[in-house]
């Protein structure tokens, strides 16, 4: 049912709703039993006494008004409770509050397929093998530190690793860097040789051209002519200049390829590359590059030549590059030049940093496994998020099993569903999901969620009940308000839904009930009025209908009188006091004494005390006829047949007084 239609329904039934308040409890068998004062000579018996409930109706109206007054305060408390629960759920799982549209590396990690994980395992195994070939003391090496270093084998393995998609060409870049140094050194030597040869050739060519140039000034002694013209000299000069230019270019190239200037440059380039890998969190690649670095630059270091340092500066220390194998403290194989500056241990520090990162990743992985095993899924998700940030390309992260990832994924999906259920006020779903979460996760308490669901469902049902009472009391506005709050508080609860539907249906029956009450009052059907008192009482108590209220009360009094007579009679009958039992019925005021229930009971008692009934009836007959002495005679007879019935005694006393005092 849509909301407008529902509210229209509320309004309609609210206007029409005038039905009975459930006072049945007040008058049921469980109603309080009041002790009736004992009749003289007759033991007191417990009898149910019907009391008026109009006061109770007014009290109920007041109580419901208070309930309605508390609604807005309760709504604010509810919103606060929802906010607290949402905060708790958000803290339990960041992914549960992160919109799915937002790209997340953690989400990609959690949703990796099994084949991706297997491929990652293979990739990182091979990558670790490369590192082990370069650094036997590698954290991934299961062998001993005494294993031999084999850069060539490492390079071959690295070449295979470069085929993996995950590698993103980094291994090939490392190989290129390494190959550039290894191959580049050889190429430089050959080129320098070529340059030297070229410079020599150019020198010879220049000498030849200079000789030709000089010969142009020489005069032939036979002919008397010069060796060349000015044009010839200009041409030769151009050639000389060209040779000089080529020679200078070769010299310049030779200077750039001189070993002393090239090796530090190469080292710097390699170190920059390693740093770039470290910054990208490619810790394994960076360690592999470090391994190649150490095995390539034998004897090399970062020392700067005397000419490069500022004037007047002297060497301040004797730092070394430990990766430069075979080097002494300064990294040189020869004696330490006093004028050299200290070296910078860039690779050592960098490798220490990388190893720490790897060690942290290993610890995190162990913790993650332990958390998943002990169902600490919330913190496991948090830790996985941290690893994605700090160990983005580490095998410790990418080789986590799909089952472990599935647990975290299921967890945040459950938390998200819980969060949505709390927002939607779907209490049955909250209870179900809380149970599931308790079973799958040990570090998130769900008692507050369950209590929240139970309490608010009960509250909604309570409000529905109050709305029903309020409607029966004729307070349609409060009833409508309570139903709206109940509907808003538990929009998905089937019990609340059913209750609201039932109340709406009962509104239509209330009109019939009103007509029935009018008919009962008209026919003075006090028995039915009493039987349906719970339904009719609020109808009769509606303000502005005092005559109906009085008429209904009269009917109730009549029925109470009849019932009291019957109950008294039955009490005497149980004690074998049959005359008293009969009298209890006989003394019922007219016209109630004609009630068929009383007549039937009197008939049944006739056999038990026929003499008494006869005497009493005669006494009554003579009393009616005005024959007081005779009436007294028979009443005395009747009294003698009872054990001092107080009613008969009273009769005797009254009639006796009458005849005694008359002249």
């Amino acid at each position: 049912m849509s909301q407008p239609v529902r509210y229209c329904g509320f309004a309609a039934w609210g206007m029409a709703l005038v039905c009975a308040f459930p006072f049945a409890t007040l008058f049921s068998a469980d109603a309080p039993v009041v002790q009736v004062p004992a009749i003289q000579g007759v033991p007191a018996v417990t009898q149910t006494v019907v009391t008026s409930s109009f006061e109770a109706v007014e009290m109920e109206k007041l109580r419901i008004a208070k309930e309605v007054g508390k609604l807005s305060v309760d709504d604010a408390d509810f919103n606060e409770a929802v906010a607290k629960l949402q905060k708790k759920l958000a803290e339990a799982s960041l992914l549960s509050v992160l919109p799915p549209s937002v790209p997340s590396e953690l989400r990609s990690f959690l949703n990796a397929s099994a084949s991706e994980v297997e491929r990652a395992k293979s990739y990182y195994t091979q990558l670790s093998s490369v590192l082990n070939k370069l650094s036997p003391e590698s954290p991934y090496n299961s062998g001993t530190a005494l294993d031999t270093v084999n850069p060539r084998a490492a390079a071959d393995l690295l070449h295979k690793v470069s085929n993996y998609e995950e590698d993103e060409g980094l291994s090939q870049t490392i190989l290129n860097q390494w190959g550039a140094k290894e191959g580049g050194a050889r190429d430089d030597a050959r080129r320098i040789s070529q340059i030297d040869s070229g410079i020599q050739s150019l020198f010879k060519e220049r000498k030849r051209l200079e000789w030709n140039y000089n010969m142009t000034f020489h005069v032939n002694s036979m002919t008397g002519e010069k060796g060349g013209t000015d044009a010839d000299r200009d041409h030769i000069q151009e050639q000389i200049n060209e040779v000089k230019k080529q020679s200078a270019e070769l010299e310049a190239e030779k200077n750039t390829r001189v070993g002393l200037a090239t090796i530090p440059l190469r080292k710097l380039e390699f170190q920059q590359f390693i740093l770039q890998l470290a910054v990208q969190q490619r810790y394994l690649h960076a360690l592999i590059a470090c391994g190649f670095y150490r095995n390539v630059f034998t004897g090399g270091d970062m020392s700067i030549k005397q000419e490069a340092r500022p004037e007047g500066k002297k060497s301040q220390g004797t730092g070394s590059d430990p990766f430069a194998k075979g080097s002494n403290a300064t990294g040189n194989s020869g004696p330490v030049p006093a004028q050299e500056l200290s070296t910078i241990s860039t690779i050592t520090g960098l490798e220490s940093f990388l190893l720490n990162r790897v060690r942290d990743a290993k610890k995190d992985r162990e913790a993650l496994e332990n958390m998943l095993a002990t169902k600490q899924i919330s913190v496991a998700e948090s830790l996985a998020g941290k690893m994605v940030m700090t160990a983005k390309y580490q095998p410790e992260l990418h080789t986590v099993s799909t089952q472990g990832r599935q647990k975290i994924r299921d967890f945040y999906q459950e938390v998200r569903q819980l969060s949505e259920s709390v927002n939607a006020k779907n209490y049955p779903e909250i209870l179900k999901l809380s149970d599931n979460l308790s079973a799958s996760c040990s570090d998130i308490g769900t008692q507050d969620l369950k209590a929240f669901a139970v309490e608010n469902r009960k509250k909604a049902l309570f409000w529905v009940g109050q709305a029903e009472i309020s409607g029966r009391l004729g307070d349609a506005r409060s009833a409508q308000l309570l139903l709206e709050f109940a509907q808003r508080r538990a929009p998905h609860d089937p019990d609340v839904e059913d209750s609201i539907k039932r109340i709406q249906e009962s509104a239509t029956t209330s009109v019939k009930l009103r007509d029935e009450l009018a008919g009962i009052i008209e026919h003075q059907d006090y028995a039915t009025a009493y039987l349906k008192m719970a339904d009719f009482m609020p109808l009769a108590s509606i303000a502005g209908n005092e005559s109906q209220k009085k008429a209904f009360l009269d009917l109730l009094d009549k029925e109470k009188t009849v019932r009291t007579s019957v109950e008294r009679s039955e009490s005497f009958e149980k004690m074998k006091a049959f005359p008293e039992a009969w009298l209890a019925l006989e003394n019922t005021p007219a016209p109630l004494d004609k009630d068929p229930r009383l007549q039937e009971k009197k008939t049944a008692l006739t056999a038990e005390c026929a003499d008494f009934i006869s005497a009493y009836a005669k006494g009554k007959k003579f009393e009616v006829q005005g024959q007081t002495p005779l009436a007294l005679t028979w009443y005395m007879e009747a009294l003698s047949l009872t054990s001092g019935n107080p009613d008969v005694k009273s009769k005797v006393r009254d009639l006796g007084r009458k005849i005694l005092e008359s002249p």
Binding site: F622, Q627, T628, P629, L630, L632, T633, W634, M636, E637, S640, V652, R653, G656, R657, I659, L660, E661, S662
Partner: protein, 133 residues
């Protein structure tokens, strides 16, 4: 010795004869005194007819003998009493008004009593003479 025994026997016989004479004389005295009472000349009160509401002659006197069951009421100035009398041979009590002057002795419950009664125009039984048996 023999003479003494004869004298004793004669004395005992004389005493027994005197006792018999005394008893018979007393009985005869009582009978004679009752037959002389005016109540015993009255007709017995017709209890059954009265109870059924049959009309009785007013101012006619009846003898009502029976047991005084209870003193039901007394008038304000104690000039008359309303008592319940169960007539002889009838198991049911009758209400009788006894003026105080009609009773020479105090009335007590369970007394055997003889009353000279009349029924007035309103049907009340009123005693005018009373004797305790």
């Amino acid at each position: 010795m023999r003479n003494q025994t004869k004298i004793t026997t004669k004395l005992a016989v004389a005493l027994a004869a005197l006792a018999v004479v005394a008893v018979v004389g007393g009985f005869l005295f009582v009978i004679a005194s009752r037959s002389n009472s005016p109540l015993h000349n009255l007709p017995e009160f017709p209890v059954a007819e009265y109870r059924q509401g049959d009309p009785l002659w007013s101012n006619s006197s009846y003898l009502l003998s029976g047991t005084l069951d209870n003193i039901i009421l007394e008038s304000k100035n104690r000039t008359k009493y309303l008592v319940a009398i169960t007539a002889k041979g009838a198991g049911s009590p009758l209400p009788v008004i006894i003026p105080a002057k009609a009773s020479k002795v105090p009335l007590q419950r369970l007394q055997n009593i003889s009353l000279k009664v009349t029924v007035d125009s309103s049907g009340r039984i009123i005693a005018s003479d009373c004797s305790i048996n």
